[in-house]
């Protein structure tokens, strides 16, 4: 219980630190949202009035305190630019982000796990070499270049998928999946490589273990040994990487969201920064930090589920 409590405290401190850091950094920035809000034809007097309206007159610490108090009441404030409640804006951008994360990571798993298993089972086989060469290739190009190629062939030439845009789930499962396919694949093309490498190298190590020899001595078939015996003990690194990937995609898939015009949190954040809409940026940062921390926690829980021996406290990274 003390362990859980300690970890919880750690998570709270991290979230507080991230949001405070955001406030401090945004406060460093020259200028203010008032100018972005007012447009080109406002006078200095108008700007001052808007400044007042937006509550930007207070010192940063006071504003942070007010903001924090608001968050505790479940109020993330309103966008300085559009006046829309931040929570509402984030909620409307979450579905695309969550779906993108789920789909991208699903593709990542679907490719990385089988390839990792096969590569590790037959190290240095032609398949293994092909896949690791392919992986090197894919991680050597910026993601947007890959996405461009995908759009060019699969959307413009073959017309299999829409080139841009997001069809919400309410538009039907099929259009929804189709609209997210290319963005998710663009992300997965790089992510699977990283996951596969980690899984493969851990699997190779596991396959050297005596208990694998013992399993083979039982006369079990290869797939059984790989899936039932080798996979689970080899998932620690992969779980960590998987968690990091999910964390990064929440608010971090800006380029893909921009390229495919998806209404995701990353785009909301980017637009917020460009418009100096601090309330929006702050809300997004909070979401991202909470997501990161929650994923971390889940990964830790995952370690315990994977290995009955993990019952110790502290972060499993140690």
């Amino acid at each position: 219980m003390r362990f859980v409590g300690g970890k919880f405290l750690h998570l709270i401190v991290v979230i507080l630190a991230v949001t405070a850091l955001t406030f401090a950094i945004l406060d460093l920035l020259p200028g203010s949202a008032a100018y972005a809000v007012a447009g080109a034809n406002a006078s200095a007097h108008d700007i001052a009035a808007i400044q007042e309206d937006l509550g930007l007159g207070d010192p940063a610490l006071v504003r942070y305190g007010k903001w924090l108090a608001g968050v505790l009441r479940g109020d993330l404030g309103v966008s300085l630019v559009s006046g829309q409640p931040v929570a509402q804006a984030i909620a409307s951008h979450l579905p695309a982000t969550v779906e993108l994360v789920v789909l991208a990571q699903l593709f990542t798993l679907l490719v990385a796990v089988p390839v990792g298993l096969l590569s590790a089972w037959r190290v240095d086989s032609r398949f293994d070499r092909f896949c690791s060469t392919l992986g090197f290739g894919l991680t050597s190009i910026p993601g947007f270049a890959l996405a461009m190629v995908l759009v060019y062939f699969l959307a413009l030439k073959l017309k299999w998928f829409p080139a841009v845009g997001y069809a919400p789930l309410s538009a039907g499962i099929w259009p929804n999946l189709k609209s997210l396919f290319l963005p998710a694949v663009s992300l997965a093309l790089v992510e699977w490589v990283i996951l596969m490498r980690v899984l493969r190298s851990e699997l190779i190590a596991t396959l050297q273990e005596d208990f694998i020899l013992q399993a083979r001595a039982k006369g079990l078939p290869a797939w059984n040994i790989l899936l039932q015996h080798a996979l689970r003990p080899s998932l620690f690194g992969s779980l960590t990487v998987f968690g990091l990937q999910v964390g990064n995609l929440i608010g971090g898939a800006v380029i893909v969201e921009q390229l495919f015009a998806l209404p995701g949190v990353g785009r909301l954040l980017l637009a917020g920064i460009f418009a100096q809409d601090f309330a929006m940026v702050q809300g997004c940062v909070l979401l991202i930090a909470v997501a990161y921390v929650a994923i971390n926690f889940l990964v830790d829980v995952g370690y315990g589920l994977l290995d009955p021996r993990v019952r110790r406290g502290g972060f499993a990274r140690g």
Partner: protein
Amino acid sequence: MYARNDSRKPPVWAKGLCLLALVAILVQGAPASASGPVQGGSLTVGIEEDFVGFDPIKARFLGAMDRNVLLAVEERLFDLDEKGNLVPELALSASTSPDGKVWTILLREGVAFHDGTPFNADAVVAHWQRLLDPKNRYLGRSALEPIESVTRADDHTVRFTLKRPWIHFKIQIGSAGFASVIPSPKAVQEDTQNRAPVGTGPFVFKEWVRNDRLVLARNPNYWRKGRPYLDTVVFRPMPDMQARFSALQAGQADAIVTDRGTHILQAREDRTLKVYSGDYAGPYAFLFNSSKPPLNDPRVRRALAHAWNQEFLVKADFRGTIPVVTDPYGGSPACGDSGYRKHDLAKAKELLAEYGQPVALELAHTNTPRGKEAGEIAQRLFKEAGVTLTLTPLAPGEVFRKVMNGEYQISSWRFSDYPDMGPYLHESLGSKGRVNFSGYASPAMDEHLLAQATSNDAEARKKALCGVARTINEDAVFLYLGGRRFHILARTDVQGLSATPHPVVRVGDVWLAGGARMLQNAR
């Protein structure tokens, strides 16, 4: 040419001819097809950025894309035709008193807002009084300064009382801006207008999911019978230019708004696409801060004007799809040669030698591909003249801030566009101008500005305006980066699009040839 001819698309020959003749093509569409408007269908429009908002006070300024929705959901009292005459919309007629200080406007009867509120004099008066009330701090109110009051004469008559005769009154109520469109007083009062606009227009606002889509649906009770043609209109913000064009090609958008030269040229070559263009006022510019050295010295500004090469920028950056301009008017009035300073490196160097000190400048530009490219070209051009230019890419709001506070040397700047640029230039270039951010002041300029503001004679006024243009070039107040020309790229089956004085897809006029297309292949 002829081999490509195709019965489905008669205007190919016309297009070819136009291109061969190197005629600037303004409206490059097919003549209305013989079959006439068809009801039904859904139109998806890809736009550059998301909307800002639709309440004049809450939104604070009109976003570049906002007119698209504003003019589909709400309506003005009058539209303006090309000659500047009022064309009745929500009003029936306008008459002015002999002294020119009172305008009486008769309103259309039997019109209702989408929320059921009747359209009447109260709605118009409420809207205008709200804008004029200083407490509400409507940012455009200084432009409305000549209006004394707006009052209700009877249920369907309103009276505008002016402080003095005002030549721009017609433009003010007929232009496509925040002040001229009439919102539902109920929606304004309930404070929902900004995010869910309610008006009397051909389309009813359905939903707006930020960064994703804004959906309009056909107004079944629209007062113009038979209009609009489309069932739904979807605006999708697609900030990436390449993505926007891909969306058009792949069929996720039926029309897109773009200013990317390569895409416009590509669309012209594409038989499934049509290009609609229109020029408007308010050029792109590099604004000089004339209040601080070294740019307070006209010789330096003139040198930079000669070092600058607008033709090259237009060619390289826009692929020749926007006009090279020498005045800020977008064609009306046409001033001809106004002493524009052409690219002349020798002259630039000569002027700088006269100035005699090394010149190093900073350019604050918006952090967009467009801003970057213009900056890079300027950097190279100035370097050839011996001027060092540092580029500072900034968020748009930051550029505003620096310019408004005079914390800049050169900045990328987009002058606002007005059908009549006179009053705006008066504020921007006059020595006491409210939005004169360049710190420029000259008696000659003030004289021309005063003349255009007070003159009631069209010819004299044109002369004064052209005098302004000439003085801009003479004193090198700012550098032209090209004129404003908007381009709407649409599929050929999108009919009824026309050139407007704004980059607006007037969806109220649009129909889809073979309107059943949408039903057959639901995308």
